[in-house]
Amino acid sequence: MSGKRHLALLVTATLLALGVAGVTAGAARQLEIFSWWTAGGEADGLNAMFEIFKKRYPGVEIINATVAGGAGTNAKAVLKTRMQGGKPPDSFQVHGGEELTSTWVITGFMEPITSLARAEGWTKVLPKDLLDIVSYKGEMYSVPVNVHRGNVLWYSKKILDQNNLKAPTTWAEFFQVADALKAKGITPLALGDKNKWEAAHLFEDILLSALGADGYRGLWTGKTSWTGSGVKTALENYAKILGYVNADHAAGTWDSATQMLIDGKAAMTIMGDWAAGYFTSKGWKPNVDYGFAPAPGTAGSFVIVTDTFGLPKKAPHRDQALNWLRVAGSKEGQEAFNPLKGSICGRTDCDLNKFDVYLRSSAADFAKNKLVPSEVHGSAAPENFATQFNDIINVFVTQRNVAATQRSLQAACVSAKMCK
């Protein structure tokens, strides 16, 4: 009897020991990357980076933990649950700037990666403004993999050429072009703001044109007042611009607005350069079918929308996470990812021959323009403010009340603890 008992105990203990060894041994050679890059060029780019990682660090099992849903709305919710529950992934996609800082850094979930950045030489190849965006109190917390531009005016070459019009560079020129188009029954500016952020995206560029890069940056540090004359001008301008927008904008999204250009129903749209990816997927070519220019009044400024990866404090496979960051910040990694994704590298030394016409022009601007963070896409303000901003602009699009909107923006700034 006791012999059998001893045997049973021995077997159980052995199995447990093997199990534990197996788990920990397995745990050491895994990497879990969390993102919302589930489809198309994004997924291809991510896989390209995975391939580079596998070549450099063989024998590591990569777990691609993605959550579908536009702009990461679902992924962010899942991530919050995991982080608060103490089960973070090894690294996760996050918009550089406030979205990372106010949600994860200030709350103590992230490790700084400044020493890694110095060792890898990133501080030399990333532009200073971009480094500032991903840093907090002097420490760097994530490495920017890609850069999208927010302030781009896209236009249908066919419509503008047929009407002998040139792409506007200022809002005054825009109104001239728009009047001419409206007289011909063509919608001057396509907008699809069912998801609210698209209207906020347009307003962000108008704010930039009214305040200039430094004034715009001041909005997020408290130097520029939300109730001041600069914002007032921007709002009044926006009200005027909305008169040239398609009447059914509340039913569409950014891609249906872009589609309006392809269908010949609208001449221009202002959207981030993921619109270029949309054009490409529909067979339109840059400088042949569509043209691009900085959004009116914003030439010389580059609104940054950047995806970055950081290091969570309790990353289960910290060494592999650091290796991933090395790949994400490397020239090889970024050159593999970005052409497929349709964005430019965070680094300034990528080989531009791998990129198409639009991206090369964007990279050239990135190298010399003033870089400002995008509010709508998580870099300039915490999510608390960003959701309120979208709501306030949603009301403004219909009601056009400048004074009330300014008061609401100031109140939102205070409630999000951005202003006093």
Partner: protein, 293 residues
């Protein structure tokens, strides 16, 4: 000495796990939500310092929440009236012993089987002002009836009511059909012998006898419409100037996108109170009726 029977003990023992589970996961969490709504937790890290009713005060002063309450009221009233009226009409029509009754019954009932998300997306396509029903109306020569549908802030909420009514009037139809079938034929004949016209028969005999069915339908549809989220979220989102926004959508966005947990908890608590205002009188009336028997 009273003997507690084994059956009694077994009955209580079987109930206790459910009671505990409901107690914690339903009532416990309701209490926790109400507690959070009285705190300052409006950023990612929990901050449970007491804020009193500040969140509620702020909510009622927010344009979006005022629009939400107004939309909920309009949606609930119009949706209920439309579903009851259409459901009753369809039930009366189907009750006429027509051929193919089961075919029609199934057709009217099928929309209920679809999820609200599918309904929302389909009706969004249908009511798109540039590519939907408006095109049909134009081709049919009824161009004057074209409308902005859910892009027109003044009537947007009615577009959502249309989709919801399409989905659930089959449900009221089924309930009324069962109710009508439960009224004995003798009552019809007795009324006719007394000289009542068809209209009087319905108004004074049948509809009053269907009050319990109507009440049940109001309760079920009412609590669905007070908490509605997925239909609105899939079909129109918040809508221009929040003309189709509802508290459910507001709560979702402010909590899980804006990290404003206390505000979201406040909205959730208000939604609970709204639904309780509907259900509690019904339960109270029901238990009184039970006790009275």
């Amino acid at each position: 000495m009273t003997r507690i029977s084994f059956d009694r003990v077994l009955a209580v023992a079987v109930l206790i796990p459910s009671l505990v589970a409901v107690g914690i996961f339903v009532y416990g969490f309701i209490g926790w939500t109400a507690y959070v709504s009285l705190s300052n937790w409006n950023s990612f890290l929990p901050d449970l310092s007491f804020a009193g009713l500040q969140n509620y005060v702020n909510l009622f002063q927010t344009f979006r929440f005022q629009a939400d309450l107004r939309n909920t009221l309009i949606f609930t009233v119009v949706f209920l009236v439309a579903c009851l009226a259409i459901g009753f009409l369809l039930a009366v029509l189907l009750d006429q012993r027509i051929r193919g009754e089961s075919v029609f019954r199934n057709i009217f009932l099928f929309p209920m089987a679809i999820s609200f998300i599918v309904t929302g997306v389909a009706w969004q396509w249908l009511l798109n002002p540039s590519t939907g029903v408006n095109l049909l109306l134009e081709r049919a020569g009824l161009g004057a009836l074209r409308s902005g549908w859910f892009t027109d802030p003044k009537i947007a909420i009615y577009s959502v009511v249309l989709a919801a009514t399409w989905q659930l009037s089959g449900f009221t139809m089924a309930m009324y059909l069962a109710g009508l079938r439960g009224i004995p034929e003798e009552l019809h004949e007795a009324a006719r012998v007394d000289g009542a016209s068809e209209w009087q028969l319905y108004r004074h005999v049948i509809i009053p006898l269907l009050y319990p069915v109507t009440l049940s339908a109001v309760i079920v549809l009412g609590h669905i419409s007070l908490k509605i989220f997925d239909l609105v979220f899939a079909m129109t989102g918040s809508g221009p100037a929040f003309s189709t926004d509802v508290p459910g959508v507001f709560m979702f966005e402010t909590t899980f996108r804006g990290n404003r947990f206390a505000e979201g908890a406040g909205i959730a608590t208000i939604m609970l109170l709204l639904v309780a205002g509907l259900i509690v009188p019904y339960l109270w009336y029901g238990t009184r009726a039970e006790a009275g028997r």
